[in-house]
């Protein structure tokens, strides 16, 4: 009985932490993005609300909450709202299988900093990831507006193309680790003293491309194309509903996919890796906190890299985006898969 209560309390604490990450940090990343974008363009960015605009996300949230609830008159109300739910829920559920650090002990209870260490973790990630297509297609269809429909069709086409690419890209690391559990994949990398990035550079690059495409980041943001489609499928949404779609797409999904990239290719919470020799930890003075700091550091570096690309590159046309997926990325991942299968026995030992 006591075990069940302890488990329930720990689970609820973990869920609260994840909610804090998703809704708290996710909201504050809007400020990070605006600041980074501003400095890339040599302007200060938001400066008025709070010190250097620190309270800006709160002001934005308050504004979105007090807007009128509008609904396009020829749309379908049920599907219109369902699209919102289907966008938010699967995107956040992905965080259930993100391992933030190694197992530790509090008050004699062993705690894994991962909500559920299920043995199909990665499969779950990609199953939930493909739910995003439904949200997008529904949002455009239910709005019954031409801009929204064009935007959602483009986005669905891109996500569908890169969904295939990303599943084939992650198979390389899975072969090397021999498991689908995200926690065990990191453990395997530490045991084998090898970040899979060193053996899977192709898979990593392809994964990054697919991540940009699935989250609608530049250079694959043709579906929102502000100048022609006025943000695509969200055009008929207002208030907090309008706020949620970019939050889910641009921040929650980028964060979760970066975290999965760190788990698969960059050794999760392990410090800097020298292939086959071991790990060098310049942050050793942090003691037991060091793995968590490493994980957060790697995820934020990937996130900043995505931001950097977003505010530097131009965008591609839809035909270029989808043709690249099928003609370049997919053959590359197939070659990578066979090569990994050949090399893998050398790594297992």
């Amino acid at each position: 009985m006591e075990g069940v209560v302890a488990w329930l309390v720990i689970t609820l604490i973990k869920i609260l932490v994840i909610l804090g990450i998703v809704l708290g940090i996710g909201a504050y990343l809007t400020l990070v993005e605006r600041k980074v974008a501003a400095h890339i363009q040599r302007r200060p960015g938001p400066m008025v609300v709070g010190w250097h605009g620190l309270l800006q996300p709160l002001a934005d949230g308050l504004k979105l909450l007090t807007k009128e609830d509008l609904f396009p008159r020829y749309g379908n109300r049920f599907l219109y709202n369902l699209a919102l739910v289907m966008a938010l829920v699967p995107a956040t559920l992905v965080f259930a299988v993100v391992p933030f650090g190694p197992e530790f002990e509090v008050f004699g209870i062993k705690v894994k900093p991962i909500l559920t260490d299920v043995n199909i973790g990665l499969l779950l990630v990609f199953a939930l990831g493909s739910m995003a297509v439904f949200a997008i297609a529904l949002a455009g269809w239910a709005s019954n507006s031409k801009y929204a429909l064009i935007g959602s069709m483009r986005k669905a086409g891109i996500v569908v193309s890169y969904e295939v690419v990303i599943t084939f890209a992650v198979m390389g690391p899975i072969i090397l680790a021999g498991t689908l559990s995200t926690y065990d994949i990191v453990q395997k990398q530490i045991e084998q003293k090898l970040w899979y990035l060193w053996l899977q550079p192709i898979a990593f690059v392809v994964y990054m491309f697919a991540m940009l495409a699935e989250t609608g980041r530049v250079p694959f943001d043709i579906q929102e194309a502000e100048a022609e489609l006025v943000t695509g499928f969200t055009v008929e949404y207002g208030g907090m509903k309008f706020g949620l779609f970019p939050l889910v797409e641009w921040y929650i999904e980028v964060l979760s996919l970066s975290a999965i990239a760190v788990v698969l290719f960059l050794g999760g919470w392990s410090p800097i890796n020298i292939p086959f020799l071991g790990f060098v930890d310049p942050l050793f003075f942090l003691g037991p906190l060091s793995p968590f700091v490493w994980f957060i550091l790697k995820v934020s570096l990937l996130f900043l890299f995505v931001l950097w690309l977003h505010w530097t590159l131009p965008r591609y046309r839809i035909d270029q985006v989808t043709e690249t997926a099928w003609k370049v990325m997919l053959p590359l991942t197939l070659v990578n898969l066979v090569l990994t299968a050949v090399v893998a026995p050398l790594i297992w030992r």
Partner: protein, 123 residues
Amino acid sequence: MGYLALLIFFGIMLSIALVFVFVNKLLGPKSSEAMQDYPYECGVPLYDKSAQSTFHQGYYLLGLLLLLFDIEAAFLFPWTVVYRYLGVFGFIEMFLFILILTYGLLYAWRKGALDWQFEEESL
């Protein structure tokens, strides 16, 4: 136990999402502009009230391709997990599978299914 935690998380997220759906109805003002819920377009009255008509068939082809290759990916996932216990047999078997898969891809490529379907302008 693992899946129960996932279920609890799902329930909590679902209620949060529902709150987000209805929060503007509760907190927002209500005005009665006649045209405020008119679909967003160029500012002139809509020629066609519904946008849900035909759309570009290129997207349909992409959907078909996804079906083909995602199912094959689903076949490959179990293999990647147990590959280390299968040995040479597993390698050859899956190499043939990937070869056939690649042949399918090349076939689709040759047929032009991977090209974006532009409308014929010469007609």
